[in-house]
Each structure stands twice: as structure tokens, then as C-alpha cells.
């Protein structure tokens, strides 16, 4: 089964689910327009005490973490040379590319001066963790676009037929694509490794962001190893995220379930998630933060849900080969892992953030939720559009759902 052919799915685009997504995206767009008319304060509950909320916690921090499938599958298939896993690299890469694109879109909405987003390229502050994150995300986004190019080239090389264009132009574009194909295949290794390096850098630095605010982040999450925890959790969530997407996509588009690849892929997750779990528990024991565990606050409850339902339970489930072989149970376990990492990012940036002076409560406004939901819906629409027209997903062989 190591040979595979990615192909455009050419499925029907406007299904009822797609219409619903388009509606959510349209509502989000309205909220974004409102933000650019009335200001951030008009659509959000952000305040002096609460400068970061849902947008940073979900659109940015979780968006980056859940795009980790891109570099973790590239590492497995291209650096370790395990080509058996090749079929999941392209969808994971597409998700990463779209994920980071939407991270930047989310950032544009969140920062007060969207038009000034280029300024970190000119004004450097090497002391700033955020500066490093921004530089890495910027470079990585470009790396992802380059890594995605072969899919576009493969689709159009040798069949460029621009409507109404003279033959010469079509031929010129064709030979350009052929040249790009040749050059890219020679130098792609640089981008593949750079993608992994850049990911390790900013995935960990996202955790380092909160180290400057020791009095504000709840001790259950504030630890000097926060960068390491962010890195290990991002690496651990990479393959579960691939399973999550693959299951959704293959169900929705009626493709082969790919369990032959997903089952062995999640063996690695047992090991990777185990490392994260051990670090989390070890950190809690060493810093003696378990004293907070039963105090019943919303922070503590959020931590317990994150750890028990989001890490421990799915780890125990994945230990069992039966779970890894069952499409349904594997999907459930992987969804729990994805949810656990998502909740961790939300906890670090929103729930666990307690400004001691102002002590204000924060709950995202309808406008904030609409924008976040709209961005996610927009991402899913583009994903569907791209897999319909570009060779991303595995060619359907049969329509059996296990």
C-alpha cells in the first residue's frame, strides 16, 4: 500500500454542510466589518486587564498548535524517509498552510493597527518573545506556500489552458511550471528541514510568551518549562490532528478511510503524548501545584478537564491496539487529544490568566465568537475547494467505511 495517487476529488461543492459553513463565514465577515468600523472595543469584551482573549487563545495559539500536523508528518515521511505515510503528508500540509494563513488573518483582526503588521520586519526587539514568534511564523508561512507549490504544479503542468489566451502564453506558463518543478524538487529538502526547525522554534516560544507575566498566569500553568510543554504538546497533537481531519474529510467526501496508514501512525502518538503527559505530571509534582487541584475554582476544573479528558484518557485509549484499529474509536481518541491541546492553549491565554489587580472576569462577546467561528468556517471552505480541484487527497479506491 505504499504507492498512492493523490488526485482532485471533483466532488460536488455546494452540499448542505457547505452552505451552513458559508453562512457561518458570512456572519463572521459582518463582525469583522463591524470591528473595522467601531473598533475592537465595539465587537469584543477585551479590556485593560484583559488585552488578549478568544482570538489569541483560539485563532492564534490553537491555530498554530493544531497546524503541527504539517511539520510532524513532513519529519516522518521526508526526513526519516518513512514514505509509507506519504498519503497523509499532503492533506496535513494543506491544513498547516491554511491554518497559518488564518492565524495571520486572525492576528490582523486582533491587532489594533492591522495595517502596521509589517513593522516587526523593520523594528527588531530581540528581547521580545513575540518578535521571535512573529519572525518564525512569517518565514514558516512562506515555507508552507513553497511546500504546497508542487501540488499546484502537478495539477497544471502540461495542461495550461487559460481561456482566451494565445497558445504562446500557455506554452510559456507551461515551461515556467516545468522549470519550477525541476528546481523545486532539487531544493525542497532545504524547505522541509527549515519548516521543522522554524516550527520547533515558534511552537515553543508561544509558550514562552507568558513567562513574562508570572503574577497573572495561574500556577497550574505557569512554569519555566512552559515552552517545552508547548513544543511537546504540539508534536504530540500532530498525528491525532491528521486522523481527525482525514476521518472528517474521507467521510464527507466518501473516500477510502485510510485506516491502514492512520492505525500505525497513532502508535507514535502513544509515545509522544506519553512524553507530554509525563512532563506535565512531573512539573506538577516538582512545583507542588497539585495543592490547587481540588479547590473547585474554574481554573482548576479547566485544568482537570484538560489533563484527564484531553491527555490521560485518550493516551490510555490509544495504548489499546483495538482502539487504534477501530475507525470510530480512533477518531474519538484523537478528537480528545485535539480538544485537550486546544483547551490547554485556551487555558494558558484565557482561563488561567488572572490579573491580580483588576480581577475582572472575561467571557468572549458574540462578536468575538462570530469572528473566530467565521474564520474557522472560511478555512474549511477553502480546504474543501482546494481538495476538490488539486491533487491533495488520496484517490478513492472504494467507498467502504469501517
Amino acid at each position: 500500500m505504499s504507492h498512492h495517487h493523490a488526485a482532485p476529488t471533483h466532488s460536488k461543492f455546494w452540499t448542505p454542510g457547505v452552505v451552513a459553513l458559508a453562512f457561518v463565514a458570512a456572519v463572521g465577515l459582518v463582525a469583522i466589518i463591524a470591528r473595522y468600523i467601531g473598533g475592537i472595543g465595539y465587537v469584543s469584551n477585551l479590556s485593560t486587564a484583559r488585552p488578549w482573549g478568544l482570538w489569541i487563545g483560539v485563532d492564534v495559539a490553537s491555530g498554530v498548535a493544531l497546524a503541527a500536523g504539517g511539520f510532524t508528518t513532513a519529519f516522518l515521511a521526508h526526513i526519516l524517509g518513512k514514505h509509507y505515510y506519504e498519503p497523509v503528508v499532503r492533506p496535513a500540509l494543506l491544513t498547516a498552510m491554511l491554518g497559518y494563513t488564518f492565524v495571520v488573518l486572525g492576528l490582523l483582526v486582533d491587532i489594533g493597527r492591522s495595517w502596521a503588521i509589517w513593522k516587526p520586519m523593520i523594528y527588531w526587539n530581540f528581547n521580545s518573545v513575540l518578535f521571535e514568534v512573529a519572525m518564525c511564523v512569517m518565514f514558516y508561512l512562506n515555507v508552507l506556500y513553497i511546500e504546497f507549490l508542487p501540488m499546484v504544479i502537478e495539477r497544471f503542468k502540461g495542461r495550461v489552458r487559460l481561456p482566451g489566451a494565445p497558445d504562446a502564453l500557455n506554452r510559456a506558463i507551461d515551461s515556467l511550471l516545468a522549470l519550477a518543478d525541476k528546481v523545486l524538487s532539487k531544493i525542497m529538502w532545504v524547505f522541509i528541514i527549515a519548516g521543522v526547525v522554524l516550527s520547533c522554534m515558534h511552537q515553543s516560544s508561544l509558550g514562552a510568551l507568558m513567562l513574562i507575566a508570572p503574577t497573572k498566569l495561574h500556577p497550574l500553568w505557569y512554569t519555566p518549562i512552559l515552552p517545552l510543554l508547548f513544543l511537546t504538546s504540539a508534536i504530540a497533537v500532530g498525528y491525532p490532528m491528521v486522523v481527525f481531519e482525514a476521518t472528517l474529510a474521507t467521510t464527507s467526501l466518501k473516500l477510502d478511510s485510510e485506516m491502514k496508514i492512520l492505525t500505525p501512525l497513532t502508535r507514535f502518538t502513544v509515545f509522544l503524548l506519553g512524553i507530554y503527559l509525563a512532563l506535565k505530571v512531573g512539573d506538577m509534582v516538582i512545583r507542588k501545584t497539585y495543592v490547587y487541584l481540588l479547590d473547585g475554582t474554574s481554573q482548576t476544573n479547566a485544568f482537570l478537564i484538560e489533563m484527564v479528558i484531553g491527555v490521560l484518557a485518550p493516551w490510555l485509549m490509544l495504548l489499546s491496539p483495538k482502539v487504534r484499529q477501530s475507525r470510530r474509536w480512533l477518531f474519538i481518541a484523537c478528537t480528545m487529544v485535539v480538544g485537550g491541546v486546544l483547551l490547554n492553549r485556551v487555558n494558558v491565554f484565557v482561563v488561567g490568566y488572572r490579573p491580580p489587580v483588576s480581577e475582572t472576569n472575561y467571557f468572549p462577546s458574540i462578536g468575538e465568537v462570530a469572528i473566530t467561528a467565521g474564520l474557522i468556517a472560511g478555512l474549511m471552505l477553502i480546504y474543501r475547494f482546494l481538495v476538490t480541484h488539486l491533487p491533495v487527497l488520496n484517490k478513492p479506491e472504494k467507498e467502504v467505511i469501517a
Binding site: G39, G41, I111, V129, V197, C200, M210, I212
Partner: protein, 306 residues
């Protein structure tokens, strides 16, 4: 065998030394606090809560007119925080002490940016729009700002406010320490100049610390033995003397080390000369090379299939 092992250790120690050299500049975190910073001492035992400082601040910094007049002292019935239209506010606290006529004695606390010696906001700022000046002021340069609000996340005193209702060009708003007046006109900050009871003393920070210690020593029983801001968050340019324990007056308890120390130490030890990304890139290239050719039987040529 013995030789190769010795060589192996030689290589190891060379590699170790190279790594150590590369990391030397970042090993010890050093404070960037200016040596001749100015500051202010606020003596809470002197403050009478007249709000003249708020008024002067509003005029000097050309801030929008307040909702209620500066003469209106009922404003003090509610605890306030500095915001995007107000750089300084005075709050009233009752610590339970009573005077000879059984009236509660109020303590008034003026709040504004503390102008930290090693400001978390300046360390956090993605573009360096916030910076600690030689004269002690933590200055905001709006022309660099992108509005990420990481300064507000970082500030342990929760001071920077934001113009959330400006859709295109919002600014971070906080006390400027009247930077222009102090640096170019040789004047005092607006609040310090107007204070009718000399509750605010402006001067060199090291001199102010001596003044504060003398006041504590020469007036036994008048002050708690604590200068708030001498050590908090590594030291601040604005400092306080009080008769009541500071935690009863809304002051946040902070560690003595500068807030940026941990994050900056981690960043610089990992990324000075980009040594760790370069090492990682080299290691991954080695792994990729070692595993090359595996699975090349595939007919499919794509992206990473070298």
C-alpha cells in the same frame, strides 16, 4: 581503541567549548536600568486626596475633559484605574484607623505608570515601541506600535490602557512621566509640580531612596518599614511611603526580580547567534541524509522525495 576514544572526547570537549563560547554573552542576565534615572516618591501619609494631580496631568498631557469635574471628590467613592483617557487616578482607602473624634482616617493612593527600572512592557514589545529612557521614563513611540497589546499582558501593574474604540489608529495610553517637560524644559512632571502638600517628591532615584529611608528613620511609627518600588519587579522609578501595609492599599505583591529576566534568559541562551536553530538544521540534514534512498522504489515523485 584508546586513541579513538580519546579523540572522541577531544571532539566532545571542543564542541562543548564552542557551544559554551557561543552562549557566553547570554549566560548572565544583566539589568538594563539606567544609572541616572529620575523618579518620584509618593508619600501616602501626606496625600489629602485633592485630585489636583489628576487635573494637572489631564492638562499637561492634553487628555480629553473628564466626565466629572476634578473638584468633585465623590469620584473617590469608587475605586478607579488609570485608563485611555486618564493617566493617573487617586483612590481612597480606609484601613480602619480612627482619629480622636472616632472618624475613619482615609489613605489616598495615587496610581500611574511605575516606570519600572527593567520594564516588562519594553521587553515584551514586539517592535521596541516601548523603551526605558536614560532619565527614567518608560516611553511609548506610537510610530512603531502595531497594537498587539503584549505590553498590557506583560505589565505587572496592569497600567497600559488601549483605545479600543478607535478602529484604525488606536494607541497604548499610559503616564509619560511628562518626558518632554522633564527632558527638554527642565520642569517637574505636572502632578509633582502642582501637589499642594508635597506628597510627590521628584528627583534622582538613588537620592530619593536616601530621602525615603531618612523619613522612615526620623519619624518612628509614622511609616511601615517598606519603600514600595525599591525592589518590586526589580525596582521602579515611582516609589511609595505609607503608614499602612501596602497590600491593604491595593498594591500588588510582586517578586523582587525584574519581570523580563526569565523569558529573556531563555530566549538569549537559545537564540544568540541562532546557534540552536543552526544545530537543529544540521542534525536534521544528517538524519535526512542517513535515511535517504529508503522507499525510493516509489514511482511517485513529489515534494520531499529527493
Amino acid at each position: 581503541m584508546g586513541i579513538s576514544r580519546r579523540n572522541f572526547f577531544k571532539i566532545l570537549s571542543v564542541a562543548g567549548a564552542a557551544t559554551a563560547t557561543a552562549r557566553t554573552p547570554a549566560r548572565a542576565w544583566e539589568s538594563q536600568a539606567p544609572s541616572e534615572a529620575y523618579g518620584c516618591i509618593v508619600d501616602l501619609t501626606r496625600c489629602i486626596g485633592c485630585r489636583k494631580c489628576e487635573q494637572a496631568c489631564n492638562e499637561v498631557n492634553k487628555l480629553p475633559p473628564p466626565d466629572r469635574s476634578f473638584e468633585d471628590l465623590t469620584v473617590l467613592d469608587r475605586k478607579r484605574r488609570p485608563d485611555e483617557k486618564t493617566f493617573t487616578v487617586v483612590n481612597r482607602y480606609y484601613s480602619g484607623r480612627i482619629d480622636e473624634r472616632d472618624q475613619l482616617i482615609p489613605t489616598f493612593v495615587k496610581l500611574q505608570c511605575m516606570h519600572c527600572q527593567d520594564p516588562a512592557c519594553a521587553s515584551a514589545c514586539i517592535v521596541g515601541a516601548l523603551s526605558k529612557q536614560e532619565n527614567g521614563a518608560v516611553n511609548y513611540d506610537v510610530s512603531k506600535c502595531i497594537g498587539c497589546r503584549y505590553c498590557m499582558v506583560a505589565c505587572p501593574f496592569e497600567i497600559p490602557a488601549y483605545e479600543y474604540h478607535d478602529p484604525i489608529t488606536p494607541r497604548v495610553m499610559k503616564c509619560t512621566f511628562c518626558y518632554e517637560r522633564v527632558a527638554n524644559e527642565g520642569k517637574l512632571p505636572g502632578c509633582a509640580e502642582i501637589c499642594p502638600v508635597e506628597a510627590i517628591t521628584f528627583g534622582r532615584r538613588d537620592t530619593l531612596l536616601k530621602v525615603a529611608r531618612d523619613r522612615i528613620k526620623e519619624n518612628p511609627g509614622r511609616y511601615v518599614d517598606h519603600i514600595y518600588g525599591e525592589h518590586e519587579a526589580g525596582g521602579t522609578s515611582w516609589m511609595y511611603l505609607s503608614a499602612q501595609p501596602f497590600e491593604k492599599l491595593g498594591f500588588v505583591t510582586l517578586p523582587d526580580h525584574p519581570m523580563p529576566r526569565l523569558a529573556e534568559t531563555i530566549q538569549h541562551s537559545l537564540y544568540s547567534y541562532l546557534w540552536s536553530p543552526i544545530v537543529l538544521f544540521g542534525m536534521l540534514s544528517g538524519i535526512m541524509w542517513a535515511f535517504r534512498g529508503k522507499g525510493e522504489r516509489q514511482e511517485d515523485h513529489e515534494g520531499g522525495n529527493l
